[in-house]
Symmetry: C2
DNA sequence: GCGAAGCGTGGAACCGCTCCCATGCGGCCT
DNA sequence: AGGCCGCATGGGAGCGGTTCCACGCTTCGC
């Protein structure tokens, strides 16, 4: 009995090639290739015979060889700044990945995860991403000053961002309606009869932070409330930053009765600080967070928070990227996804 | 001025090949290849001239072409059951990835993230993983009954697991010292003078859950305390499961003074239930969790918990895998990493 | 002074696949 | 009946690298 006959044997050693399949099926290489790629111009007989040979041999196409000629890799990279992964202990990270992965899988594509350290040089990374390993690039947590997206664009590598770097972003991206979400939050506080509403921002070199602050202003404006700049405290999305900002706010405005924090983590810091100063939440001061992260459900009291459709963002990003890969050159697009308010006990 | 002269122009269009580099440098293709791969048998002059040509042309090697002949892809897959990603909102997921990525990057390798849905068939996935796209496979959250690791082993694809499926696991893996961590936790409770110590387990079809239960028994045994089976409640790592289990325990043992929960989430459920029954934590009942997850820091009171070195697990897994890839065939290995107790206010 | 040894080098062969072209064949139209 | 058209097919060329072999040159030993 010839050694190569058994599928399991064949799989264990060197794997069979298309040529071997052709030989076994008694057809030419072209025909096998056509069957594999689902070309319509194959007779039923050939197709059957080839499919059987493939099954018997346990043949799996060599993707490297294929991509060498097709110039496609059928995989895209998801670039994540390493510093952010800690922040991503939040559901954010996994939700984005789940969304991206679902869309990609549906298109038969693979996901390459690239963590990049802050200090790593962009040129090296860019050359990595252009080394014919990926068809496109997805980036999350891009900071305002990040030039990598431009670099990739120069290299004509299809790119899609989660969030934009500033309000004139020219690279394709998907983001949540941050200002809309903030308006929702502040309007909710107004509806509850709160009048002295403070806010704790995120780092303002991030567009999300700016947009959420804008929403805060807009909501007050359109309610006819004058924005008191002293009610705006600057945070950095961390718990400690939230505490510090809250401390400052209480000093300047001991009688404030509500706080809109630009992130749940910040909000949880604010809650801690409020309690330390003898304020009850929500009785004395109502608090609304942003992100609807796991923290929101575990603070005491649980946080009212603005939810963004993260998984859908991932899904949409992948979709946009696939579009760009297919019809290269066509202009970039931006998609804004709606946010919603999840009401819990803190406001 | 010839169009191909400018690096940026060249980068934008079709990318230069090794042959073009050779032509420009005035050497043969072999020599360019040697320079790129750092072969010692190249004259200084050739090296200089080639390096300049590479820089001028903005040349980046085509990895597909390389891997076609070297039979290496320099990338590995991390396989994650999709159902688990939600659970991975915990730092676990990102910490593993960070560890894996760090080790891989150091070795110049790439990480392919593969989320697999429960219902997806293994054969398809396996053929994916064998299609010359990855050199090896890392798997997290493998359940007892999962046969994919065996399948991969049959196909002689190097594989390393996070955790083992059972105590006769034959595939290489890395795990935390779960029973040791449980012993630590229970001993801590004993040291605090607690005598009626209950435990809430995880799903016992998972090795981690079994190991943590074993540790509980061992700690009591070696302290000369007889294990009362009524003090063992079965949970499923969820908060609701923790509440239910706690409810049962309180019915059977109203006077218990401590609980060791096999996960923080379970523990947080237990704390909620205890409070609902008017028990104070830790005054009446001390609680210890497991995982030292973000939940542990946000419950009230913050949880004493067993920490496992997750990032290091990722790092070690990648290391083991790289070993297996290099010296194929040599036997598998298992590595057990130590756990430690993080004492907070709940015990 | 001559052969052996050694080093740097160029280039052919090949990795496994897709693409395209040439070929053969049957069926349809005139 | 003869000529065309179109479809299924086989196989050559080539994708962009690496590897290996043969070759020329220099250096060294006797």
């Amino acid at each position: 009995m010839p050694a190569a006959e058994s599928p399991s044997r064949a799989a264990a050693g060197r794997r069979p090639t298309l040529t071997e399949v052709a030989a076994r099926a008694g057809v030419g290489r072209g025909t096998v290739s056509r069957v594999i790629n689902g070309s319509p111009n194959v007779s039923d007989h050939s197709r059957t015979v080839v499919e059987r040979a493939i099954a018997e041999l346990g043949y799996v196409p060599n993707l490297a060889a294929r991509s060498l000629v097709t110039r496609r890799t059928d995989s895209v990279a998801l670039v994540v700044p390493e510093a952010e992964t800690r922040l991503f202990s939040e559901p954010y990270f996994s939700a984005i990945i789940r969304g991206v992965s679902a869309r990609l899988t549906a298109a038969g594509m693979q996901l390459l995860l690239v963590l990049v350290r802050e200090d790593e040089d962009h040129a090296k990374l860019a050359s990595y991403l252009t080394s014919h390993r990926v068809d496109g690039v997805l980036m999350v947590a891009v900071h305002s000053g990040d030039t990598l997206p431009d670099l990739l664009e120069d290299l004509s590598v299809p790119t899609v961002l989660a969030g934009r770097r500033n309000d004139i972003e020219h690279v394709g991206h998907v983001r949540a309606d941050n200002s809309g979400g903030a308006r929702l939050a502040v309007r909710h506080l107004l509806d509850k009869g709160r009048r002295t509403i403070a806010t704790i921002t995120g780092p303002l070199d991030m567009d999300v932070a700016r947009a959420r602050l804008d929403g805060y202003r807009e909501a007050l404006d359109s309610a006819g409330v004058t924005v008191d700049e002293d009610l705006i405290a600057y945070g950095d999305f961390t718990e400690e930053g939230g505490r510090a900002a809250m401390r400052g706010l209480l000093q300047r405005h001991p009688h404030l009765d509500a706080v809109f924090a630009a992130s749940d983590v910040t909000a949880s810091g604010a809650v801690l600080e409020l309690r330390a100063h003898g304020r009850r939440v929500p009785d004395d001061v109502a608090v609304v967070g942003f992100d609807d992260s796991i923290v929101a459900r575990h603070t005491d009291p649980p946080l009212t928070s603005v939810r963004q459709p993260i998984e859908e963002m991932g899904h949409t990003m992948a979709g946009l990227l696939l579009d760009e890969i297919d019809r290269r050159g066509k202009g970039h697009r931006e998609v804004i996804l709606p946010t919603e308010l999840v009401v819990r006990e803190s406001a």
